[in-house]
């Protein structure tokens, strides 16, 4: 399968262009070499005329001789084929870009240069520019590593071909790649109190056919002999059997607070918070989908978008594709009440990744909590405003800190634990305090430590 863009030269009887074909005339212009030689010769001759020093023609003569040797024939046709090895990858994975240039006649020089996007780096040993001499077909291959998630073109391929005194330069932009965030490893140990009836890998409160020990009771007719607890039966003088907890699946919905400026107006702090949220969401979704749980996504970014919980690898890619377009500029206040019941089933564990900066995000979290969903908020903001040297700047910073503390306190008052995702911490360790709730506090989730 071939991806990318193909550029071909026109032929005497070109077939009708298929839909989506763009015609661009190739412009053959004087090459850099012929321009510099001609300019040098002209300068020397002008100097000879102005100074009346005829020997200065000697400076121009070699350049003119080389110019005269250059062929100014009709340039051959060019066919440029640019292909990517795939259209999807994860962060840090390699993608191969292959460019082939074909000409009807040999060209003097063909230079293929890859100009990478800022999110991609050259991974292979091939240099970014490769030159070929006196050839009718040139092919270059680059291995590129995409280090940033998103949907973007990894770069452009600049094709410069020289035939005699003329050269043509074309740029072919590579097709956009879908680079998914690479999820970190973690175990899905947080589960809601109400588990699904579906068989899964989480230990439920009900008795069932799982593997976790849940209790002992006297033997009843119909019990399996392998469940008999010999030690207790001998001690009590009566048959006793072990009881096991049911293994159930869970529903998880990850919510990303993507409010904020988009595109060029997004600063580094905004980008970092969204980056953290997307990586956290990818980590959680992967961990839960791996153990046959169902996972969904809600993006709060002006336009409310959601994806109902579902299981399987395909669901991960659907969620990842939605995350690639998480940022959406809008002034709309999202109404989480519009999310259908199938997309946010009752009792679903909801993990919100939010910098807690936009009041619309806070309102959505409070609304969900009041509707009875078990919620966990992960604060993705790691930066503070610069303190400044003036007294009023320091006062403003203190007020800002107080405001954030008030926001966190208000969320905790609603029963939403707010976890700070600090620098260098894994998401598993960020969520660890919720697996062992302090004594006296109501258990948020039915997880067992």
């Amino acid at each position: 399968m071939r991806f990318g863009r193909t550029e071909r030269g026109s032929s005497p009887g070109p077939p009708p262009a298929p839909p989506g074909t763009q015609r661009q005339p190739a412009r053959w212009l004087p090459s850099a070499r012929s321009r510099s030689l001609a300019s040098a010769a002209l300068l020397a001759l002008v100097a000879a005329v102005l100074t009346g020093h005829a020997a200065l023609v000697l400076l121009a003569a070699p350049a003119l001789g080389a110019l005269a040797l250059m062929a100014r024939r009709r340039p051959p046709e060019l066919g440029i084929d640019v292909a990517l090895s795939g259209s999807r990858c994860f962060e840090g994975e390699d993608v191969t870009i292959t460019t082939t240039v074909r000409a009807a006649e040999p060209l003097d020089e063909v230079i293929l240069e890859l100009q990478l996007a800022p999110q991609a780096v050259l991974a292979g040993a091939s240099p970014s520019a490769q030159a070929f001499l006196r050839t009718g077909q040139a092919s270059a291959r680059w291995v590129v590593r995409c280090d940033r998630w998103g949907r973007y073109s990894p770069g452009t391929v600049q094709v410069t071909s020289r035939a005699g005194a003329l050269q043509a330069s074309r740029q072919a932009e590579l097709d956009p790649l879908e680079v998914f965030p690479r999820p970190a490893r973690m175990r899905p140990r947080l589960v809601p109190a109400e588990l699904l009836r579906r068989i899964g890998e989480h230990t439920g409160r009900a008795l069932g056919e799982g593997v976790e020990f849940a209790g002992i009771r006297p033997y009843l007719p119909g019990d399996q002999l392998r469940d008999v607890n010999r030690a207790v039966s001998i001690r009590r003088g009566q048959l006793h059997v072990n009881q096991r907890a049911a293994a159930r699946a869970a529903d998880l919905v990850v919510m990303i607070d993507a409010f904020g400026p988009v595109d060029d107006r997004a600063g580094p702090v905004t980008e970092r918070t969204l980056d953290l949220a997307v990586h956290g969401a990818a980590t959680l979704v992967t961990a839960y989908l791996r153990v046959s749980d169902r996972a969904g996504l809600v993006v709060l970014g002006g336009q409310l978008r959601w994806l109902g919980p579902a299981a399987g690898d395909r669901q991960f890619y659907r969620i990842a594709e939605m995350m690639l377009a998480a940022r959406y500029d809008s002034f709309v206040i999202p109404d989480v009440g519009r999310i259908p019941r199938t997309a946010l089933p009752p009792g679903t564990l909801v993990v919100v990744f939010s910098p807690l900066l936009d009041p619309r995000g806070f309102g959505a979290i409070a609304d969900l909590r009041q509707r009875g969903f078990p919620l966990i908020a992960v604060d993705t903001l790691r930066d503070e405003p610069p303190p400044g040297s003036r007294a009023d700047a320091r006062l403003a910073l203190r007020l800002w800190r107080l405001d954030r503390t008030a926001t966190r306190t208000a969320l905790r008052a609603l029963g939403v634990p707010v976890l700070q995702w600090s620098e260098g911490a894994e998401l598993d360790s960020v969520l660890a305090p919720l697996r062992q709730p302090p004594p006296g506090l109501r258990r948020l989730a039915g997880s067992r430590s």
Partner: protein, 171 residues
């Protein structure tokens, strides 16, 4: 002013060093017969040479050659010195236009023999002409100017788009 190209330290190739060496030699050669102020012009030319070689500054080679011609125009150099300077200019311009990312430099150098030989023949022809008649006629200079302009226009068909066209098939 043209922007300097962004190049990393690792992208300096042997061709860059060859181009820089030839450029500096071209700039320095006529200084022995040039007046004192020509050293300042030559320094500017050397800077242009280095910028062209290591920062891909496109106008660099032509500016360096302009500095050389200015120095030669007011120097006391003889015809043989100027002939050598003309060949140096040609070699420098050929080296400066070497494509980036050359993997087989030997093959590229062998391809430069033909323009160098053509330059040598042209230089020899002019030397022979100058040896026959020591001219300083205004008519000759005017004819030379017209020939130069004609050669420039023939070599540079600027703004004349080719009839060729290509299409872009998006698959």
């Amino acid at each position: 002013m043209s922007r300097l190209g962004s190049v990393s330290r690792g992208s300096f190739t042997k061709t860059s060093y060859l181009s820089a060496a030839l450029g500096v030699a071209t700039v320095a050669w006529p200084l022995a017969w040039a007046p004192g102020w020509a050293y300042a012009v030559a320094s500017a030319g050397a800077v242009a040479v280095l910028a062209a070689a290591f920062a891909r500054w496109r106008p660099g080679p032509v500016l360096a050659v302009a500095a050389v011609i200015l120095a030669c125009a007011f120097s006391q150099a003889g015809t043989l010195v100027l002939a050598a300077e003309g060949l140096l200019i040609l070699c420098y311009l050929l080296a400066a236009s070497a494509p980036a990312g050359l993997s087989r430099r030997g093959r590229w150098v062998s391809h430069q023999v033909f323009p160098a030989v053509a330059g040598l023949i042209a230089s020899g022809a002019v030397l022979a002409a100058l040896a026959l008649h020591q001219v300083s006629s205004a008519w000759l200079t005017a004819a030379g100017l017209a020939a130069a302009a004609g050669a420039y226009l023939i070599a540079l068909p600027l703004g004349r788009p080719s009839r060729r066209s290509s299409d872009v098939d998006v698959q």
